[in-house]
Each structure stands twice: as C-alpha cells, then as structure tokens.
Symmetry: D2
Subunit: 344 residues, 4 copies
Amino acid sequence: MIRFENDYSEGAHKKILDMLLETNMEQTPGYGVDYHCENARNYIKGYCEDDTLDVHFLVGGTQANTTVIASVLKPYQGVVSADTGHINVHETGAIEATGHRVISVHSEDGKLTAKQVWEVYHNHWNDVTHEHMVQPGMVYISHPTENGTIYSKKELQEISRVCKELQLPLFMDGARMGYGLMADGNDLTLSEIAGLCDVFYIGGTKVGALFGEAVVIRSEKLKKDFRYNIKQRGGMLAKGRLLGIQFEALFEDGLYFEISKNAISTAMMIRDAFREKGIEFMYDSPTNQQFPILNHQQKEKLAEDYSFQHWAKVDDERDAVRFCTSWTTDEANVKKLVEDIKKL
Amino acid sequence: MIRFENDYSEGAHKKILDMLLETNMEQTPGYGVDYHCENARNYIKGYCEDDTLDVHFLVGGTQANTTVIASVLKPYQGVVSADTGHINVHETGAIEATGHRVISVHSEDGKLTAKQVWEVYHNHWNDVTHEHMVQPGMVYISHPTENGTIYSKKELQEISRVCKELQLPLFMDGARMGYGLMADGNDLTLSEIAGLCDVFYIGGTKVGALFGEAVVIRSEKLKKDFRYNIKQRGGMLAKGRLLGIQFEALFEDGLYFEISKNAISTAMMIRDAFREKGIEFMYDSPTNQQFPILNHQQKEKLAEDYSFQHWAKVDDERDAVRFCTSWTTDEANVKKLVEDIKKL
Amino acid sequence: MIRFENDYSEGAHKKILDMLLETNMEQTPGYGVDYHCENARNYIKGYCEDDTLDVHFLVGGTQANTTVIASVLKPYQGVVSADTGHINVHETGAIEATGHRVISVHSEDGKLTAKQVWEVYHNHWNDVTHEHMVQPGMVYISHPTENGTIYSKKELQEISRVCKELQLPLFMDGARMGYGLMADGNDLTLSEIAGLCDVFYIGGTKVGALFGEAVVIRSEKLKKDFRYNIKQRGGMLAKGRLLGIQFEALFEDGLYFEISKNAISTAMMIRDAFREKGIEFMYDSPTNQQFPILNHQQKEKLAEDYSFQHWAKVDDERDAVRFCTSWTTDEANVKKLVEDIKKL
Amino acid sequence: MIRFENDYSEGAHKKILDMLLETNMEQTPGYGVDYHCENARNYIKGYCEDDTLDVHFLVGGTQANTTVIASVLKPYQGVVSADTGHINVHETGAIEATGHRVISVHSEDGKLTAKQVWEVYHNHWNDVTHEHMVQPGMVYISHPTENGTIYSKKELQEISRVCKELQLPLFMDGARMGYGLMADGNDLTLSEIAGLCDVFYIGGTKVGALFGEAVVIRSEKLKKDFRYNIKQRGGMLAKGRLLGIQFEALFEDGLYFEISKNAISTAMMIRDAFREKGIEFMYDSPTNQQFPILNHQQKEKLAEDYSFQHWAKVDDERDAVRFCTSWTTDEANVKKLVEDIKKL
C-alpha cells in the first residue's frame, strides 16, 4: 500500500534527525529560551525581513490555532472563517472550548474574500440587535486552504486592507505554507505574508519536521504575554529546543522552501495524469492536495494499491477524493500511480 | 406609538402583582426552596401529569438555555439546533461561552425534522474523521419557533423517537409555550410535551409574568445536581419566591393558558387583515408572531403609528417584518392597526 | 419563627411595588434602554457626582461578579480576592467557569490590604517561572465584606493607589453597599467610592429591591461593549425596565440610604445585647451582619424562635453564628430577640 | 555550567533516537492508530498486568493533566489537589481555563492523605450551602510529588479506598513515575498503581523520551470518547507514531525502569554529600529532586559552576534550592559537584 492519504505519513527530513542526534546530549534551559530556538527565530525573521517580529514554536496546528485565536478575542467575539476552514471542521470544537464561536462564511474553494469579511462585519453592526449576536473579532484564513487553493497577492492585500480598516486582526493558518509558497502561479513571498497578516504560522509538521509550527506575530498588541497563553493551552514543550532545532534545520539555509518543491512537482504529475484521462477535479489546486472526482469503479481500482481519502460525494456515481503529496513523496511511487491512472 | 415590536413590552398580569403585594412582607428562605416555589412546582407537575418531574425556576431564556445545555453536554459535544434557533442567533454566543458548539441545521420555517436529526447524527458517526469533529450530544428545538411555527404531535413524536433511539437528550425552548398550546391547529398538550422531551421550559417572561422560566426535567440523569448548575451560571435568584409566586399565579387555576388566548386572537386579526390586503407572509404562523412581507411604502406608512421589527430583506422592493401580540395586547389597538392595514 | 438568617427574606420596599403597579401597562422597549433605566442611571450618576460613568442593571450578585470579572481578565489572568470573598466561597465556581482562577489571599476579617495586593503582584512578577503561573489581572473587594467589616477611606485610597500603580483594575462588590455607607464610623461616600474603583456595583437585592444590582463603570476600557457581556452571561433582562424602576425608586430621592439605616440600628441593638451579655464576636462588624460566638446551649435556646446561620465552629463548646438585619427588619422582632438574649 | 536545574535539559535515550531513525521513512496512518502505538500500548498493559486498560499518548504534562481532568469533571465540580500540586502551581491556570477550580488542600511534603480527601468531601456535603460551592469531583495526586516524595503502598491504598467509597475518580500525575518506582523504599509496582488509580500517566518527557506522556485509563466511564478530548485540547499529534515509537523503546524490554535508576543513584550521591556536610533538607526526598537548604554563601559558591533552582526562602540567611538528576545525569559531573559540596 502506497500512502497518499495525507501529508504526514513519514517522519522528518534527514537533516533534522542529524541535528537532533548531534545536539542530543547538550544541556539547555527548557521552554523555548535556548539558543537553538533563538537561532531559528532569527532565521525566520530574516526570511520575513522584519526584526521586530515575535516567533514562538508550538507542537501542532490545532494547538497553534486555539492558542492564537483565544489570545486575540474578547469573550463575546468570534472568529470569521470560511466554512471549509480547519477550525470550523476538523478540530473537535477546540475554538468553542475556549468560549468562542467560529463565524463561518460559505466558500466554494476554501478561500475567504475581502468582500465577505466586509459583509460579515457590516451585517453585524448594521443589525439593531447586534448586542445579541457574536461580534466578529478577527479573521482566520488558511494558505494554502484545506482545498489546496492559494491566495494571490492581490487577494491577500485586499483582505488585509479590509481587516485593517475594520480593526480585525488577520490570522493565517500556514500548516502547509511551504506548498503555497512553491506552488505554480504563487506570487506571494513569506516576507509579504508577514507584512499583510497580524499573526500567522509556518507549518513544520506537514513540511519536513517531525512536528512543530512556528507562530509569527507582528501586532504589538498580540505579542504581549503570549507565552502565558502557550503554557495555559498546553503548548509549551519542556524540551523546547526540539522545536528550535527543527526550524533551525529548515530555515538556516532555505531547506524548507527547497523540499516543498517535491510536493508540488509530484502533485502536478498526479494532476496531469488525471486530467489527461479526462477526469475532473473538485477544486483547481496548484498545491500538494489534489481532489479528482472518480467514479466508483475508478475509486475501487486505485484503492487496491494506494491509500487516499474520501472527500465528498458528488453524485450517485462519483465521489471526490483527496491525494496528498509531501516534501518526501517518492517520485517512483508517483510514477507507478500515474501508470495506473492511465490504465483506468 | 403602539408597540408590536416584541412580546415583552408591558409588565405582568394583575394577579401576579396582587400576589407579590400580598406576600411582600412574608419571610421565606431564599434560593427557591420556599412554599411558593413548592406550590408552583406542584401545579406544573399537575398539568404535566407527572409527579416525578423536577421543576426549577430561572429568570430568563438565555440563562435557561445556557444552564440546561451546559449541564447536559460533554466537553467535546455540541447541541443540534435549527439555524434559526435562538441559541444560534440571538444569545451572543452564550452556548459557545460554556465551551460548546451549536451544530446548526438549515431550516426554512424554524423547525427541525426527525430526519435532520438522524442525518446529523449519522453523518457524524459515518465520517472516518469523526473524532476530529464536534459530536452531536443533544437536540434543541423551540416551540413555538422563532418564526411562529409549531410542531405537530406527530412531528414531535418522531423527533422524540429518533432522539431516544440515538440517545440524544431532547430539549425544548418554550419561551412562548403558552402561545403554542393555544394556537389554532395545535394538537399537543403540556402533558404530552413533558412526556416527549427530556427537559423543556415554560416561558413566563413573554406570557404574563414579569420574568421567569420554569425548567422541567424528566430525565433522571439530567436532574442530578441541577441546582449547582443554576448557581454557577448566575441563575439562582436570592428571593427565589418571586419566581414561585409568579408561576403559582399562572398555574394554580390555568391562568397561563387563558391569557395566552388573547395573543392568538389578536394575532389572527392582524394576519387576516394582511391576508385580505393580498399581502404575503414569510412564514405561515398560527401563533403570536406574524411576518408579513411589506413594500417600502407600506412599511413606512405603518411605522408612523406602530413599532414593529424589521426581520429580513426579501427583495429590493420588500422586507419581511415582525408584528408580535401578547397576553395583554389591547384589542382596541389591534382594531386600529387593522383599519390602517386596510388603508394601505 | 423570626428570620435573621439572611438579608433577603422579604420582598421589596413599598415604593418599588407601587411604581411597578403604576407603570405596569406602559409599553417600553426591552433590554434596559427604556426611560426608567435612563432615569435611574442619571440618579445614580448624580450621587456618584460623575456624569461620565456607565451604569448597567443586572439581576443578581453572582451574575454581576461573573460578568464584570470575565469582561476584564485576559485568559491567563486571575482575580485577586480575600479568601473570604463571595467569589471564592459561595458562587459554585462561577468565575472558574469563565476560565479564570480566583487568586485568594488570606484575610482574618474579610478585607484585603494594599500591602497584600502589592505582594501578590510582585511575588508573581519576581518569580522566574511566572509564565507558568496565573497572572494577577484585577482586584476584587467586597464592601461591606462577607464578615460585616468595612473599608475606611484611607484603606480604600491605599488599595486604589496600588491598583493604579500596578495597572490592576479595582472592582468592588457592593451587594450590601447601603449598609456600609450607613454604618457607624463609615467615612466613605458613594461618590468617593466611584472615584476610587474602576468598576463596582450597588446592591439592590439586599437593600430594598425585589432584585437587582447596579453595575457602575468608570474605566473607559471596561465600558466598551459591556452590554455584549451582559447578554452572553444571561444577565440581560427582557423587561429591563423592572430594574430601572426599582433603582429609580431607590435613588430618585435617597430612599436607598434612608432605608439602609434601619438595618444598622437594628443590628446595633443585637450587637449591644450580645455584648452586654459578655458574648464575644468573631468579627467586629459595624454593619447589618453580626457574628456572635455562642455556646451550644445558647445556640439551641435562640434557635427555638429565631432562624440564624451557623457560620463556623470556634471550639468544641462554641460556634460563631450570623444574625442579619435588613432595610425592613421589624424593630419589634429585634426587641423580642434582645429580651431573649438577656435571658440566656 | 553543569545543569541540575531540571530533569529535561538533554534530549532522549539513544535507543529512542535509533528507532526514530530506523522508522523515519515508514508510511503510517496518523493520530496514534499505527502499529508502533499499538505495540507500545501492549507493552504498557503488560507491565500493568491488565489487558482491559486504555492507553493514549500525549505530548506533555500540562496537556495530559488538562485533558484528563476536563474529561472527568462536571461543570460545577473541581479537582482536589495538594496545594503544591503541579496543576495548582505551575500550569498558568490550565485547569481553570477548562472551567474548573482546583480545590487545594495544604500539604507539607507534597502528598495528599486519605483523611484530607475524606474531609474535603464531607466538609462540602455537610455544609448546608453546598450548592453554592464547588463540588469535589475527582482527586489529583502526583507520584513522585513536586517535592520529591513518594506514596507508600499503604498510603495509596487508603486514598484509593476512600476515593472509591466517595465515588471520586483518582488521577495520578506520573510525570516522574520512573523515579518513584526506582526510589529507595518504594513498595509500589506499576501494576499496583494501575489497579489503585482510575487514570494515571507515565511520564516520558522527564524519563528518557524527547517528549510524551502515556495516559492509562482503567475506569470504563472515563475511557469513552477520550480521543475526542485529546483532539479538542490540542493533544492529538499528527505523526502519532513518534509517541508510540518512544514508548515502544522505553517499554519493550524495561528500559524505562533501568534508566530511571541512574537518576536515583546520582541523586543519592548529592543527598549524601549535603547530609555529610550537615546541611538540612526542606523535604525528605528519596527521588531525583533534592531540596537542600543553603545559606547565601553556599548558594553563591555552588552557582559558580552549577545551575540549580531557587525553591523557597527559608529565613533571612537561607534558601531552599532544588537539584535535579535524571536518567542521563553524568556521574562524573555529580562527583565534581560532590567534591565542591565538601569544600563548602
């Protein structure tokens, strides 16, 4: 069985393991104040071209989302998100468990538009009963989205401008950040993202690390006492250097970006194979997640040798499914898959 | 200005005020363990034809909804509700503030169907990633709904049966219970409702009382330690007898049902007047809330002498609005309104 | 049985009932934006000699405490309180239910000192592991305290000064405010209290009203969106005017202060009677709560005709008990009690 | 600088790193359902001599404590803990953030007694106002405690018996479990602990792993849907196998127990050195944490070459400090320290 069901099936990049081995017997202080974390912070701030940023390392995505969002909102506020957003769908109500509603907005492709943010805000404040409703308090977007799509620079600039105007902090979930930055057609740099968001994170779990997400905060207000929030939400790793070392490995010389390319090139091979077969896609994704629409026979056939995820029923005959590639997807496996797609 | 904007514009029924005056200097223990509360409990249990019920008196609807729902759910569970449900729309995220999601289901008329409950439940459990999603833990319905509609006996029996089968406690928000029980075409009694729900409440605030909701619990599991929940959520009134006295007045000889009729008869006068004028309605409501669809000219004309609520934009020319009547709506005022409707 | 067990055994002052009757059929908007609430706000701002204050009316004390505290604190902050404070002892964890710790400090007499506030703050910030501990975020005091004691002007000024210096909002629970203001030896006015606290409330439930607490906010930061918090915590009364009318009655011409005197004079009669008998007190209270230390025989004897509250075991022979008077305590009943104390 | 400030200064045992390397390119399903986790579960159940146990792997201690406690308590319940307990002192209010109070009981040595549990319970239920107070809902103990002390078999049996009788689930925080099991004088086995607690965890972070805690659940009631709780609290690691592999390494052939011995033998060397010098200890600890009481001169002298933690001021002349050893503490370093202690 060759696994395309998700982008966290394997361990970590060799360089990370090597560094963990080398540093294993070093004695460092705990909780992320060691020199590895400090190095990693500096590398990331370098790529973001902004020395004033705060960088914190958390273990996972749900933890990062929950910690950030609960640190921003007032009790009566909610976070605006596409209805497809990870916080709205796949975090077992982690946001609600901190007391806040996810104010979901319908999205066809996983993206939120500046216009939608504008409307949610004004629909709230124009309603005479607004005090009886959850107040929009921040905006959450994923990049790439859960559907594989990415924001263009223009789209992100517009959302950012609206958020600034409405004083809604903008938070980007970058669990798959590398795959967005390396996607065909992407016109955003990490530095531009850092300038347009109030807070965002760079995902390690799905891009080369064993685990770990680097939360980057630009807003002065959000920086204050953020470590208390990390500790309270269970996200302060005792051996914090383990996170520092991984992001050191990924960012000291651009490894993060380099390895992300493999996910894209292999995903494009899969995309092209389905396309050539005349198979349609649920979303037009330039990143590492591909959502072909297969009929039952095709689905069963491919399931014999490959694991992939059922995504959604399209009609009585067809389902959308998800194939994921990653930084370490083996091209040989993809070639085998491509051959089998051809035979469908 | 004659007010039809809501059903809590006035004070309380005269009998309630008389009893408050008469009993004012009595000395009683606090927190709802006095004899007035006990009397009121017994009257309500009598109408419910079930001596084993627990009855608690809370001050308001949001408080009652929050206290009940938070007492039932486990941390990772949510409450299934129509998207029009009060808890989903007009309680400033009170449910989320206790850590739980409102799992909303689209409803055209404010009602939830047994089929929808069934689907939400099975969609959850059939999803392989269900542990990553909020688990449906109970069902919330309003009767009458926020749109004025009511459940038929058959509909409620079906929901109740599905809830039992799926082990989802069924909770009915009866903030306007009296107006449902007295509606034309209603075929449910309070006793039947008590038998079909695990917990529900009988609204006093909108039906004759100054304030107060009587929470009735049938489920043994939900009865346990409920008073702790009331206290924790800020709902344990020091002078608890004030609630007891009001429900004593309303239920010792059926006053609650009697005064509810006035809301229905006056609402039907308004409904007929709009109908005769050829004006359509957003919902087909047999209760005290009516939702005519007015054009801008009609709306402005009526707004000169009457207060009513904007409900929803229907198209560029027309809005749905809400007219409410109540236990104390003055027939003379309604006749004046009817005349003015004729003149539109 | 004559009741001295608490200060909420009876209903409300006659003037309040009269006004409720008179206004009963008025039609007003809901949720506290009617003219009665507006009048009451203005009267209270007048007594506080500060037009810029915000005044909100809530139903009860636990609700007021919870709503205020949860609106002030960040997620990782707690509220500093005497260990005897109501929020620490008798609210079923309502504060914790909003996600916050009560940071309790030991008090012999119910009062917190400026020095204790200073120490809690600096103990926190001087600890190298402070990020692993709950950060002190505000200060809660009761006046009078749960033990009947009151703050002197000097004490309150010192606490206020320290709180300002440390940027800790100061919140005063004034559930029995009237009894503090009318106590022998009190040197604080309502206006001075309003100037020294960031937020406080004036208790109605225990001082003449059926129910209701008037939350007064001076801090601009705390004013923002406070009504959202009220609604979310279940404290926004539909017929909000019921609260407005009661505080109108109490504050339009000083009735609140006037009726508070009765509680003091009757409490002093009881205090003197115990003192003359050589009976000691647990706390030296100049207000409506008295805590004599009775031996078992004395306790049983008095319990034959009077209800009072067991407070604490003092030794194998003796218990402290609590006798409460109120705005409506009947002097004849107190004289009877005094006679019975003499006979002990 | 040689570090004795905590027991998580280094990485992981070599065997763990080797296994991570070997398995790095395996493709496994995520979220802890892979075969490594399954192996680790079986090994742990073997040592616990109970096949019916549920075993879950979480990343850290605060996360494990929060997830377990929030999964057990009803909203109005709190967790009974020694005031020295980690949840009461060093988790930034993580328990309160889930809505629950830590009901702290004073302890001199970090241990809770069966008598204290009994008293907290009965003090609550015997109080007539108990509905106004947080209800004790479970018991939390640490073993070894934060002060290095351990429970004897007799003590744990007594607590367990009282908890069963009072229907309070018993939860043991075993962040340093290995060091308790290997301590001189310990008479408890892992299997006995598993039989006496309803839920407990075996700490990996401080005992050989990079990170990770193995939560073991005996109570059927607590087992239900526990994975939802893990996900909601941000504790479900995408590459769950990383935890499985580590506990596989530690428990397949008893490595966990073996390496724990090093912490004990080195700690005893340090203890003996201080003792011989006539230096007193704050607690009598047979485990890896030692709390000598040093005068300022001694403290400064040792601080030149060693890092250790300030624990508490004892008097104007002396402070208690903490020296920690671990599974990997270098005996050479300890010998150097011993020499330097001699020279004090």
